[in-house]
Structures are given as structure tokens and as C-alpha cells.
């Protein structure tokens, strides 16, 4: 993760990441000038903590995802640790990397006071920065007041500060639009990574097209698989499958450990089955459906297929011997 080693050149850096924080939690229509600070804690913290934040699911390293979210411009990256922390929370990396942002976090009032102090320093500095960043995109819309005035607004946390690039209109509408567009582009980048085959396509409409196709295909797959399950369903008893299937889900990830675990479970099942060998035959007779196998059979067969044929044969031998 990027270390906040660079001196915080740009004033008011702490506030500007707020406009990247998902406004979904606040659900407000207007983007740029809405008070996003309130939404930040709820949206970011909530998204990070409960299992299944999407960027954590992506498994992307923190820095890579943050690069996607905060386009380019490493040198002008406002290295406020508070900013870094908020960015990390927005990308919902709270669960895999809770430790890395937190030690960097200075007390918020302290940093905002420092930022406010620096804001008053250099209007000339700001002008020069505006010129130098003409070609490069400034990361995270670093804090710059719209018309170069209005120091009084700086301390209000409700406003989002966007840098006015040279040669671009500086009134509030265009800045709001630009902030919004940057947000949208950031998320489109993430979506491009999610959806396979989207990296070559450029342009919002085509990427959206691909995304729609992908979501439709996923939904159709779910329907198809549920139909298969429905077809299989009437003949199988689900009683004993719980433990087995949970181990099976971890099986692709666990490798050798999974095999051992599976063997242990299998032995446990076998001992449980052999404890009452006479019950299965009565169940078979009571069952109206002649094709329904008893759960002991199904569990043994499930274990059998996983440990290749060598597993299946000794079990059938055992069963025959017992009966």
C-alpha cells in the first residue's frame, strides 16, 4: 500500500476523497456539492465490515485497486494519511487490510487543522499547479477552490473541492459534472476488470453493453443450473449432504488438507452408518419411490467419487461384510 511519505502539497486534501466515497448510502441526486461526509462513515464502514465487500472479493491488492479508483498522478497524490484511509475504506478493503490504514491515521481534527492552515498559504502556488497539471489528471480531484477565493468555505466539510484545469470552464456546473464523470469513470474501470473481455473495449456505451451481456449470461446460467438441480432433486435425499457439501466447497481451495478432512468425515459417516445397519432396509421398503437411495448410500457414493475408485471399493466391501 502506498505510504504517505510525500509532503502534503495540496491543501484541503482530506476532504476531496469524500466525493469518491459512494454516495449510494446517502442516495442523493446531486453529487458534487452534497455533504458526503455523513455518508462516508456509513457507506465505507458498512461496506467493508460485513462479509462480501466486492472489492475484497476481487482479491485485488490494495494499491492496484486504489490506482484504479484514483486515476493516475502519483506525484500529486495528496498523501494525507487520512485520505489514504478514506480511500481504503471506500474501496472496502477494511477486512483484508485493517491494520495498514489505521496506524497511519492521525487524529482527524489535527489533520484538518493543518490542512486549513496550509490552505491559506499560497494562492500563487495554486495557480502554478493549475498550469502544471494541464496535461495530467490530478488524482482524486485535489482540493482547489473554484474561483480561487472563498477561504471561508474551506472549513466547511460539506463541499467537495475540484481542481479547475487550465482552459476549462470553472463555474460550478461544469465542475460538478466533471467530478461526477470522474466518479463514473473510476467505477467503469473497476467494472472493466470484473467483466471478462471488457478491457479492449473503450467508451462507456460499449463497456455498458458488455456488462449487460455478462449479467444476462450469469442470470441465465443461474436459471439453467437451478433447472438441473430441479431435475436431479426428486430422486435425492438431502439429509446427509450438508457436511459433505460444505467440505466439497472448500475442497478446491484446500488441496491436501481437504483430502485429509474429507477422509475424516467419511470415516465418521461410516461409523455412524454401521451403528444401525438394519434401519436402511426398512427405510427402503417404506419409501414409495423405488429409485430413492437411502442417505447412507448417497453419502458413501459421494465420498467414493471424490477419492477415486480406490475409496469406493473398500466401502462396498465393508457394507457387504456387515450385512
Amino acid at each position: 500500500m502506498r505510504h504517505p511519505s510525500q509532503p502534503p502539497e495540496v491543501p484541503g486534501a482530506g476532504d476531496d476523497i469524500q466525493d469518491l466515497i459512494p454516495v449510494a448510502s446517502s442516495a442523493s441526486g446531486s453529487v458534487a456539492w452534497s455533504s458526503s461526509k455523513g455518508g462516508e462513515g456509513g457507506g465505507g464502514g458498512g461496506g467493508g465490515d460485513s462479509g462480501g465487500s466486492f472489492t475484497a472479493l476481487l482479491g485485488l491488492p490494495t494499491s492496484q485497486a486504489m490506482e484504479l479508483l484514483l486515476p493516475a498522478a502519483a506525484p500529486t497524490f495528496p498523501a494525507d494519511p487520512q485520505l489514504v484511509d478514506r480511500a481504503a475504506r471506500f474501496s472496502a478493503f477494511a477486512s483484508p487490510s485493517p491494520s495498514s490504514p489505521s496506524p497511519n491515521l492521525p487524529p482527524p481534527p489535527g489533520s484538518s487543522a493543518a490542512a486549513a492552515a496550509k490552505r491559506k498559504v499560497d494562492p500563487a502556488d495554486r495557480a502554478s499547479k493549475g498550469k502544471s497539471s494541464k496535461k495530467g489528471k490530478t488524482a482524486a480531484a485535489s482540493g482547489e477552490d473554484k474561483d480561487g477565493g472563498g477561504d471561508g468555505e474551506d472549513d466547511k466539510p460539506a463541499y467537495v473541492h475540484v481542481r479547475a484545469r487550465r482552459g476549462q470552464a470553472t463555474d460550478s456546473h461544469s465542475l460538478a459534472e466533471r467530478a461526477r464523470r470522474e466518479k463514473i469513470n473510476a467505477r467503469m474501470e473497476l467494472l472493466k476488470d470484473l467483466v471478462p473481455g471488457c478491457s479492449k473495449v473503450s467508451g462507456t456505451a460499449l463497456v455498458l453493453d458488455e456488462i449487460i451481456n455478462h449479467v444476462q449470461s450469469l442470470q441465465r446460467q443461474v436459471e439453467y443450473l437451478s433447472m438441473r438441480l430441479a431435475a436431479v432433486n426428486p430422486r435425492v435425499d438431502f439429509g446427509g449432504l450438508d457436511n459433505f457439501l460444505t467440505t466439497e466447497v472448500t475442497w478446491p481451495d484446500m488441496g491436501v488438507n481437504g483430502a485429509r478432512h474429507l477422509v475424516q468425515l467419511q470415516q465418521h459417516f461410516w461409523h455412524g452408518d454401521l451403528a444401525h445397519p438394519l434401519q436402511p432396509p426398512s427405510q427402503w421398503e417404506k419409501r414409495a419411490d423405488p429409485h430413492a437411495p437411502v442417505f447412507s448410500n448417497s453419502s458413501s457414493s459421494l465420498f467414493g467419487y471424490d477419492l477415486a475408485s480406490s475409496g469406493a471399493q473398500p466401502q462396498t466391501g465393508k457394507l457387504k461384510m456387515e450385512l
Binding site: 482479491g59 467505477r187 442470470q219 437451478s226 438431502f238 459421494l302
Partner: protein, 195 residues
């Protein structure tokens, strides 16, 4: 590509648990269509509950749409949804009508591009549960979240159906041996207890 992540596994396990519960409670008397619909809806609900209502909107949308309610409540709920939808449409139309870029768009190409994008966001809104009420940015956020969880759901469903198919196949093999065993049990029973 993507390394195994703890959150994915937790979600998959939760999803699998809920799915199995709902599968066990399915009755044997339903037709294929009903069963498929029941499985699909239970999978959706399972996905929504496994995800938790915390970081996204779509789980809540799924749960609210699938929760059973008496007919009066359902009518009211539908009316509320229509009202909200109409409000959102109006708000969006008004906002877009007076947008800065609508006034200054000189290129035909940008207008065309914007129209295409709007069409597609409409389609995306329909596909993602709960997407009708969201603005573009949160819509994209929701879409990302939803896609990831759909991936996980498809994986789990595939595993389950594979396992069941194999169990069926091998249990059919065992069925023939089971009949043999049945025969041997009866024979041994008769031999043990001569009548």
C-alpha cells in the same frame, strides 16, 4: 487471476447453507417448473441473506420482493413502488433536461453516445434488483457488487449440481448392488429366524 479470498469463501459457505436448507424443505409433489422456480427464488434469497444488507442495496430489494405478504399488502407495495419509480423518473428527467452539457453539446456524436449510454443504463437498471431507484454512480457500484456475487453463486450451484449428478449416477450403480444386499439381508434374516 484472483487469489482465493476469505470473503468469497464465507459468502459461498453461507449461500450453500441457506440453499441446502431451502432445498431440503422442497416438497416432492411439485412439477419441474415449480421446482425450478422454487430453487431459483431460494437461491436468490440465499444469496441475499448470505451477502447481508450492509454494503449494497440489492439484497434488500431481493428480500423485499420475495417476502410473502397478504394480497392487500402486495397491492399497496406495488403501488408504492410505482409511485417511487415515477418520482425517480421525473427527478431524472428534470435534472437531465437542464443539465449543463445538454445546453452546450455541439457534436451530434456526443448526443448519440449519450443516448446510447442512457438506453443501456435503463436496461442495466432493470436487470439489477433494486436498481430502478439508484442514480448512475451507485448503479455502477451495485452492478459491481452484484456481478461478483453472481459469480460466486454460479460456482456454488455448479458444484452442487455436479455433486448431485455424480451421487445420482453412482447411487444408481449402488441401487443394483443394494438390491443384492437386500436380498442377502432377507436371506440371512430368514436363516437366523427359522419360522
Amino acid at each position: 487471476m484472483r487469489g482465493p479470498c476469505n470473503n468469497t469463501m464465507a459468502f459461498k459457505r453461507g449461500f450453500l447453507g441457506s440453499l441446502l436448507v431451502s432445498l431440503q424443505s422442497s416438497k416432492a409433489t411439485m412439477s419441474l417448473e415449480e421446482r425450478k422456480r422454487a430453487i431459483k427464488s431460494s437461491a436468490d434469497v440465499a444469496m441475499a441473506t448470505a451477502r447481508g444488507v450492509a454494503g449494497a442495496r440489492w439484497p434488500q430489494a431481493i428480500l423485499s420482493s420475495s417476502s410473502s405478504s397478504p394480497s392487500k399488502m402486495q397491492a399497496k407495495v406495488k403501488r408504492c413502488k410505482n409511485i417511487v419509480r415515477r418520482c425517480c423518473h421525473k427527478r431524472r428527467r428534470d435534472g437531465n433536461g437542464t443539465s449543463f452539457f445538454a445546453r452546450t453539446a455541439l457534436n451530434r456524436s456526443t448526443e448519440v453516445a449519450r443516448r446510447l449510454v442512457k438506453k443501456r443504463t435503463k436496461v442495466l437498471r432493470r436487470m439489477i434488483p433494486g436498481g430502478e431507484l439508484l442514480d448512475e454512480i451507485s448503479l455502477l457500484h451495485e452492478a459491481m457488487d452484484y456481478v461478483v456475487h453472481l459469480h460466486a453463486e454460479v460456482d456454488v450451484l455448479r458444484l452442487v449440481s455436479k455433486a448431485l449428478q455424480r451421487s445420482n449416477a453412482s447411487s444408481e450403480r449402488f441401487a443394483s448392488t443394494a438390491q443384492l444386499k437386500e436380498g442377502t439381508v432377507q436371506v440371512s434374516g430368514e436363516s437366523e429366524n427359522p419360522c
